[in-house]
Structures are given as C-alpha cells and as structure tokens.
Amino acid sequence: MQATSDRFVDNVRKALDNDILQQALGNVRVNFIEKRSQAVAGLPEFEDLREAGRILRDRVLADLDTHLLAFEAKVQAQGGHVHWCADAESARQTVLKICREAGARRVTKGKTMIGEEIGINDFLEANDIEPIETDLGEYIIQLRHEPPSHLIAPAVHVTQQQVEETFRRVHRDLDPKRDLREPSSLLAEARAKLRQRFLTADVGITGANFLVAETGSSVIVTNEGNGDLTQTLPRVHIALASIDKVVPTLDDLTLLLRLLARSATGQEMSVYTTLSTGPRRGDDHDGPGAYHVVILDNGRSKMVGTEKQDLLRCIRCGACLNHCPIYHAVGGHAYGWVYAGPIGAALTPALIGLEHAADLPNASTLCGRCEAVCPMKIPLPNILRHWREEEFQRGLTPPTVRRGLGLWAFVARHPRFYRLVAGLGARLLSGMAGSRGRLRSLPLAGGWTAVRDLPAPSGRTFHALYRQRRSGGGGKAGGGAA
C-alpha cells in the first residue's frame, strides 16, 4: 500500500472538512468506549489478566525464534507449509506462487491487516487473480476502492447511506427499486452476493490473530463466520501472519482471547474463534487440501531488543484507536498507511521509515488514554516520545521547532536570564492585551491564536511579586497575606 503518511497535515485538513466522515466518526466515540467499559467492569480480574498478558507476550518476545521454529515444526509435521518472508515483496511473491501452483483464478479473503501491509489485493489483480473480501466491512471498502480506517471496523468511516449508494452502484444485476433502508437488508444483500463467491473460490486467504506453537494452529476471531468459509471451502488455505503473532500454548491463547474481544468490541468472546490445524486429513469432512502459513517480518525483528519492542505485544484490538481523541477527530485514513490511531502512529515509522512518517509520533498530546486501555499495557506515549527523540537526533525535527527549542532550553537553563525574559514577556503581553485581558492575535503564536484567544499575563511574574512581598513582609513564604 502506497503510504501518504508524509502528507499527514493535508490529510488531517481534508478529514476535518469532510462532514460525512465526521458524522461516521461520531459512532466510534460513543459505541466502542461504552461497550468496552461495561465488559471490563463485568470481569473483576481484568487488570490481573492485562498484567498476565503483558508478561506472556514479553516472555514470547524474549525467545521469539524458538517459538516460531516450534510452530513451524508442528505445522510441517501435520502436512502444512510455513513460508518465511523478510519483506512485503517476498510475501507477495510467495502468495502468488501458491496461487499459481493451485491454478487459482479467484481468491476469497478473510480480514487480514498483513494483507493490507503487503498490498496483496492490488498485486493479485495485477496478476489476473480476482481477490474478493468477505468480511462485510472489508467488502464495502473493496467496492469503494478504499483502505481500511480501523483495525477491527475497517469501514467505520463509511455511513449507512454510503453503503447503500455503493451497493446500488456495484450490484447492477439486482432490482433498482429494492428497499435497502435497513442495515439488515444491506447485510442480506452482501451475504447473498458473497455466498456464490465462497463456493467458486480456488484459494482462501485469511489473517491470523494468533499462531499456536503447541499445536501448529493459526487462529482467527470473527463475528460474521466469513473467515471460516474462507479457510475451509477453497482447495488451498493461506494464513498471512507476522512474526509477533506466535503464542506457545493453547492456555496462553485463552488468556489473550479473554482480553481481545473485551478490549475490542466489549464482547466476552467474538462470535467465531476458529483454529486451523494443517490441511484436511483423511477422515475430515471438510477443509482445504493444502495449508500454508506466510510469516512476515517486514522490519519487526529489528524492533526486538529496542525501546520499540513493546509494540510487538499488540493484539490488534483497536482499543487505543477507540479511545484516542486524535483518531476521533481525523479518523484512520489521515494516518496515511495501514495502521491508524496510537498504535499506527507508533508502529508506522518502524515499518515504512521514520522519515516517511515524521508527523505521526508528534501528532499526539501524549494524553495517555491509549496506554490506560491497552490490554497489553503498551507504553504508547513513551514510544511516541522515543520517536520524537530519534527525529531530533536525526535532524528530522522542523528547523523552526528546533530553533524554538534551542531558545527555550537556553532560557530554562539560566535561571537569572529566565527571570529577565519572563518579566519582559509578562509585561509585553499584558501591555498588548490592555484591559481586554486577552489577545486575539499574536505574532509567532499564530498556531494558538488562529483558533482561540490567548489569555494575557497579569503584568508581573510570580517570582518578581514573591520577592517583593518577601522583602516587604519578611518571614517565610508570606503568600498567605497576599
């Protein structure tokens, strides 16, 4: 997927000016937050589970190669194949090769963020293989030629009315006078369209929420059942995963599952949790004839052992997006690549290069709400801060910001000079504001006064007044008499 993260500021302006998007985003703020909060309140040990989850993921990351190799051995022992792919191109070629060998013309797809990361749909189309998204949200945005804007609700930026318009535009064979006003009728139409496709697909591609080393299984959680049809009906199943998805045992899996749905949608469990273990065996009633797991690195292994490693604990629940005031304001597409919200701002620079995503770590107030709700306790604000530090060291910080910081640092490091500057500043701003008490515009502070007034200082600094009162009144602080 072509990144536009380097045009973040333009993307933001467009998003803020898009009334339909703003209307759609209103739902995120209300629905997800309330549902998660109720689910968490209903599970007294939720905080303990978070801590256990963090410990588990850290333990896996400390021995990542061992767990991945154990997973591979188990998959192979059951007749499946594991493909190690260092980058997106290698993953695309691997998928294409499997499809070609299967003589595939049509591919159904369950939801996969790795698929987005490697741009698999465009690539397959360019190679005359038709990819069909089967998750309702993914299906909608595929028809609209848009990338997902949310980890678990890819079409959250689309309003119901837009879905209706899209279906009428694309499903030309259906009666133009049909009634699509109810969400249920939209769902029924998508289901009918997709049902035919499931039966005629040659290959099914899914993501993997987890890979279980103990059993060699790939695990998906869905609410629509589309993933199950995608991975059991076609002749070949390809699971796309990244190296951070592995967990050692089924017990470990259950711990993460208890956290995942509650954090994501506020459900105790997703409607379907499906483990795929190898190809169809002799006495199986259904299942694919071939089972492939494509495991992508794409820069992740370089994060191990750095202050970015904690990002690899992420289980892609989307809670950080749902609670992020920046995401609420601008939605997912403004981030300009596959991953949005706080996890996107922290992960994107690692995967596409900090120089291509320099705004993302800065566009945050570091309010900490993401970390507070993250089921894996990822210290997102600290990681964003690390990126800012790296930008500063690599000279990616804009020159005006750098100069401002240099000036600030000089003043703050010299208390006497600071007193002088603060005293002058207080008088100057107070004088400019006059009796009005606030400024409507101020040179060099246009970012502030463009959208709000600047309350003016009262005229003298605290330290000047304090010294005056002390020398007049004597005693200790003496402020009580002020």
Binding site: P325, N362, C367, A409, H463
Partner: protein, 272 residues
C-alpha cells in the same frame, strides 16, 4: 521527630511536624498567573507546611522532553533535582509538571550515575497540589464560600500520571455554596498537549471545541482545573466563542483568592 528528605505520606502525622515544602511554581504560573502560586502558598500554609520557593527554578523541562530534546531536558531536570532535593516535599499546582518530575525524571536520568538515585528520591516526594493537601496533609476543612455552579476538568497528567481525581472534588465539596456538575466525557484530553496545540492547531481546535461543548452542557458558569496549560487553552476557546463561562485554577477557589479577574477576562482600570 526529625524531618528527613525520605519522608513519606503516612510516616508523619500532620499534627506533630511542620514539613518543609518546596513550591514548584511552574513557568506558566510564573508568567501568566501569579495568583495561582500565591493561592498554593496560602493553602499549603493552612495545611501546616513551611513553604519555600527555591530561587533557581525555571521550567520542569517538559517542552524539550516531549519534543525529543532529551539532552536539554536532562540538564534542566538535574537543575531541578539540585534545587529541590533538600526539602521534605515538592508540590506543584500542576499535574503535568508534577508528573514530569515524579514519572519522567527517573527515566530521563536513569543512565546518569550521579543523578539516577537522586531523581528517584525526588520523584517519590513530589505531588500535585490537591493530591498533597488531601492525601498527605489530610486537609478537609476550608473556610471559604462561593455561590457558583462549577465543573472540573481533569488534566490528562493529573488523571493518568498522578492518579488525581477524587482530591480536588473532595476539597471543592468543602467550599460552602459550591454546586458541582461533572463534565461529560471527562477522561478526554482538552487538546492542549504543550507544543501540540501550536504544531497541530486544526486537530487541537477540534478537541477543544468538543471540550467546550461538554463544559457548556454542565450548566456551570465557572470552569475549574488544576493545570494552567489546559485552562489557557479552554478559557481561550471559550472567550473566542463568546462564552460567558469563566475559568480559574482550582487553588484560587480553595484559597478564597478571587480578586484577580478570571483567566482571559477583562481587567478593570488600575488592576494591571
């Protein structure tokens, strides 16, 4: 009982000792609103503390720290450690600056063998003002009165870094005449975020608009908070919108020091 730098809440009883408290004024209070500093001193003295204002203080270092300039932030952090470590407690009328000292200094100076331990000790005795008054000094009675409907904005640093939520509400409940309305969606950031608000004014604007909308819903005519950064942002937006709602730091109300016009309000002649 001797006073020591390692004093912890609970180790002392407020009745028997007079702790030496260093006030970290904060640069915003110094520059924009000295009345908050004097209100903090009054409250701390009311709570039985001996208040000192170390002379060498400037800023906590947060602008540099949050903008990637850790080297300068660390120099400033060391300055603060040196100026404040000899007191029993450090108190700031700001969850943000208190959070910087108590949550981030230990990280920032962790690799500095001369300062790492000192930063940890300083962090452990640093408090946000209302947190210190309630949790450490057990202040509960106030001799002030205010017939206003107020609402309270929890700053992100107070709420999530310092764990301050109940304390300001407890103290406000002790002010005679105050009617309190909770702010809807109170966990949300106001859009200040230090340099964020001038780097990304479009996003900041949307956030503060959302916030002032929620403030208006409470029916309060006075907005209170414990952080001047958030207050400058919210008051600046309220005034730009032509709102009649006034904004003040909670310390001004608790100390009964309301002579200064509210934040961003007009001054009468001769007040400057």
């Amino acid at each position: 009982m001797p006073q020591s730098a390692s004093a912890r809440p609970g180790n002392q009883t407020p009745e028997t000792v007079t702790p030496r408290v260093a006030l970290f004024v904060t640069c915003l209070v110094d520059l924009f609103r000295p009345s908050i500093g004097f209100a903090a001193i009054k409250l701390l003295e009311q709570a039985g503390c001996e208040v000192h204002v170390p002379d060498a203080q400037t800023c906590c270092g947060q602008p540099g720290y949050n903008s990637g300039d850790s080297a300068n932030a660390a120099i400033i952090a060391r300055q603060v450690v040196e100026s404040f470590e000899s007191y029993d407690y450090v108190v700031a009328p700001s969850g943000s600056c208190a959070g910087m000292i108590s949550r981030h200094y230990p990280d920032l100076l962790s690799g500095d063998k001369d300062y790492a331990e000192r930063a940890r000790r300083l962090a452990a005795k640093t408090y946000e003002l209302t947190q210190f008054l309630v949790d450490v000094r057990k202040l509960s009675a106030l001799d002030v009165k205010l017939d206003r409907r107020v609402t309270y904005h929890d700053s992100c640093s107070s709420l999530r870094e310092m764990g301050v939520k109940a304390q300001p509400r407890k103290l406000l409940a002790a002010v005679e005449g105050v009617a309190f309305s909770e702010l809807p969606d109170g966990d949300s950031c106001c859009g200040f975020g230090g340099t964020f608000c001038v780097k990304y004014p479009d996003i900041s604007d949307r956030m503060v608009e959302e916030k002032t909308g929620n403030i208006a819903k409470t029916g309060a005519d006075l907005l209170l908070a414990g952080d001047l950064g958030c207050l400058l942002n919210m008051a600046g937006k309220l005034k730009r919108q032509g709102s009649k709602i006034e904004s003040r730091h909670v310390a001004e109300v608790l100390a009964g020091m309301l002579d200064e016009p509210a934040i961003g309000e007009e001054r009468r002649e001769g007040e400057r």
